[in-house]
């Protein structure tokens, strides 16, 4: 479903606040694929990710009145989903920070290399990262969190966040390069339902 126009979105949110199921369905149909894609980046297990997405929607529906329309609704909803995913990761104690921070050799890409990789392929590579790397990479690179915010969210030091991100990025680049050159025809294992 395409993004609703701002006027339509405001009306939709207003109806959702009144607990109208049709409006809730419409909002869900628009947002659910985006939020599930986001959740899958944090939680590779599909059922787990879908569970977190449902919890995020519950929060969104219950806290709609707190959205003041000052920013993008999509961004607000995604922030809720990220927080819900982090809460789930912490509750499940699934965030492990790698201690091996050995610098791997630099990976060089040509101008065309990255563009040959689809979103699903990159997503699949991110999913295979260790949980600590994956979480910090997602937060810093994709969600634009600062290292200070990450440190606060995950209860770690800012320097830990920096070092983990540097190492995560190197490992991801290496994986992307390998995928690009050694298995160009492999079907991506990013789960799509």
């Amino acid at each position: 479903m395409s993004r609703p126009e701002p006027e339509d979105l405001n009306a939709l949110l207003h109806q959702c606040q009144k607990q109208q199921k049709a409006a809730q369905t419409e909002l869900y149909n628009w947002l659910a694929p985006k939020l599930l894609g986001l959740c899958l980046r944090y939680l590779p297990d599909h059922d787990n990710a879908e569970d977190v997405m449902q919890d995020a929607f519950v929060k969104i529906f219950l806290q709609l009145h707190k959205f003041r329309g000052e920013g993008s609704f999509e961004g607000w909803a995604k922030r809720i989903a990220v927080n819900t995913a982090l809460t789930a990761l912490k509750a499940q104690k699934k965030i492990y920070f790698e201690r091996d921070l050995t610098i791997v050799e630099n990976v060089d890409f040509t101008e065309e290399d990255p563009l040959q990789l689809s979103a699903e392929e990159i997503g699949a590579c991110i999913q295979t990262l260790p949980s600590g790397y994956r979480t910090i990479l997602n937060l810093f690179l994709i969600e634009n969190f600062s290292h200070a915010e990450i440190a606060q969210q995950l209860g770690i030091g800012e320097s830990t966040s920096r070092s983990q991100y540097a190492r995560a990025r190197q490992v991801l680049m290496k994986m992307l390069k390998e995928k690009l050159h050694t298995q160009p025809d492999q079907t991506p294992n990013f789960i799509i339902h």
Partner: protein, 470 residues
């Protein structure tokens, strides 16, 4: 070569717009979670408001109990020592308690002192718990009184005098009283004859020990101590209670017994969405007691009935056509009914659980001028006698069970409750109580192996008639 920023940008762009279509059931599950969360919030609001009410009630009770009462009068003969002009300003005038008479009574001799003897009624002196400590210099709370039968004064072990004890009341309400000895008299014979159970020592006097003693019977019946000991007054009572209830059920999916089949999920969803209030009732025989008219302990034994209605679901797999419901054509009182007809799948059936119920309540009674309030907590334990219930035993078929006590049903359910109400004595021995109560079961009506957990909660109105045996 491509610089790092461009790679990062590419990764961000692709991942930011990545969309994955969720499964078809995800929306329904989201709605179920939403309803469950709303229900949880409503329950929380209910309990929170109840807690606030209880706190306010308890706070009011504490205020009522701890509020300064009218000071007890000193009934002993007093001699006003202040000039009349100063009396209004010093409302608490000096008062002298003559104690010499004690000596004459106990020693069997007459005294020249013409003051009245200290009798139990006359020697009422305000005391406080602080007074029970010999080191306590100042009595603090003057609103309770205890009578003493003797006041003795010993200035030193060598002293053998007893005299007049003067009680000074100060305008300062905190420093209530202190005593001084104004006149000495012979003491030792009294000390020898007085009992050893001296129970408070309130006064601040240099080198002087002032002890108010009570005690074992003296030789003269007229000198019997009259300590206003607050003996517990326990009144036993029996009676009847009728308790209509508005009851709702909290449903929880059993993750172990519900493997996630479509019909089981639909059953849970239907239960969650149709959680209406039902009207139930309990009747009990009551037995209990009140202590000092302030506390009440009540036990009860009786009968309780819990009912709920539910709408039947249509089978997802069976093709047979069987009607369901006690009023349906050709229906027998037992058997398995597979619901495959859309028409009959909308049937609404009633399930009834009958329990032997017992409860124990501890209540605080708060007496006001107009009415007595009652606040309390209780615990109800219900033992299942039998149930007429439709159970989802087969994957998508209901079984109607009459007078059933099968393994799916919990034998015991435990229900904590809180109540607040009013108490009215309509006759000297007959009391009527009307209390609103809120309760929430900690145990499901079904055992843990059943598809769902179903706990009752709600509010009730409890009417009780108690007859006091004495």
């Amino acid at each position: 070569m491509l610089n790092g920023d461009k790679i990062d940008h590419h990764i961000k762009e692709t991942q930011d717009h990545l969309e994955v279509i969720p499964s078809l059931l995800a929306f329904e599950r989201t709605m179920q979670k939403l309803e469950a969360e709303k229900s949880r919030r409503r329950r929380f609001a209910l309990w929170f408001s109840l807690g606030v009410m209880l706190l306010l009630g308890a706070g009011g009770a504490v205020y009522y109990v701890a509020a300064p009462a009218k000071p007890a009068p000193i009934l002993a003969e007093t001699t006003k020592q202040n000039p009349p002009a100063q009396q209004p300003a010093e409302a608490n005038s000096n008062k002298t308690v003559n104690a010499e008479n004690i000596q004459s009574k106990t020693s069997g001799t007459n005294s020249n002192n013409t003051a009245a003897p200290i009798t139990p009624a006359q020697s009422t002196i305000p005391v406080t718990p602080h007074n029970t400590h010999a080191q306590s210099p100042i009595p603090v709370i003057p609103n309770k009184s205890v009578s003493s039968t003797a006041v003795v004064v010993a200035s030193s072990p060598a002293s053998a005098h007893i005299g007049t004890v003067t009680v000074h009341r100060t305008p300062d309400p905190v420093i209530a009283e202190k005593a001084e000895v104004t006149e000495d008299a012979v003491l030792l014979p009294i000390l020898a004859s007085l009992p050893s159970t001296c129970f408070f020592l309130p006064f601040n006097y240099p080198d002087t020990l002032v002890t108010c003693c009570t005690s074992p019977p003296l030789a003269d019946p007229g000198m019997q101590p009259a300590v206003n000991k607050t003996a517990s007054v326990i009144r036993f009572a029996g009676g009847l209670t009728f308790n209509p209830q508005f009851c709702k059920y909290a449903y929880t999916q059993n993750p172990y017994a519900n493997p996630g089949s479509n019909f089981a999920d639909a059953y849970y969803a239907a239960k969650s969405w149709s959680a209406l209030y039902t009207q139930n009732y309990a009747a009990q025989l009551r037995f209990g007691a009140t202590v000092n008219g302030k506390w009440e302990i009540l036990s009860g034994l009786g009968y309780e009935q819990l009912t709920y209605t539910e709408q039947m679901l249509e089978s997802t797999t069976s093709t047979s056509s069987t009607y369901i419901g006690p009023s349906g054509p050709g229906i027998q009182p037992s058997g398995i009914y597979v619901v495959s007809s859309t028409a009959v799948s909308k049937s609404i059936v009633t399930n009834t659980f009958t329990y032997l119920t017992g409860n124990l309540q501890c209540n605080r009674l708060l007496e006001t001028r107009m009415v007595t309030f009652k606040l309390g907590l209780g615990l109800r334990a219900d033992y299942l006698l039998h149930a007429n219930v439709y159970l989802l035993n087969a994957p998508d078929a209901y079984t109607y069970n009459e007078n059933y006590r099968g393994p799916e049903l919990s034998r015991w359910i435990v229900i904590p409750q809180a109540q607040v109400g009013v108490v009215k004595n309509i006759r000297p021995k007959l009391q009527l109580q009307l209390c609103a109560d809120a309760f929430s079961s900690t145990t499901s009506l079904f055992t843990k192996d059943y598809l769902i957990s179903q706990r009752s909660y709600g509010v009730g109105l409890e009417g009780t008639v108690l007859y006091f045996f004495r």
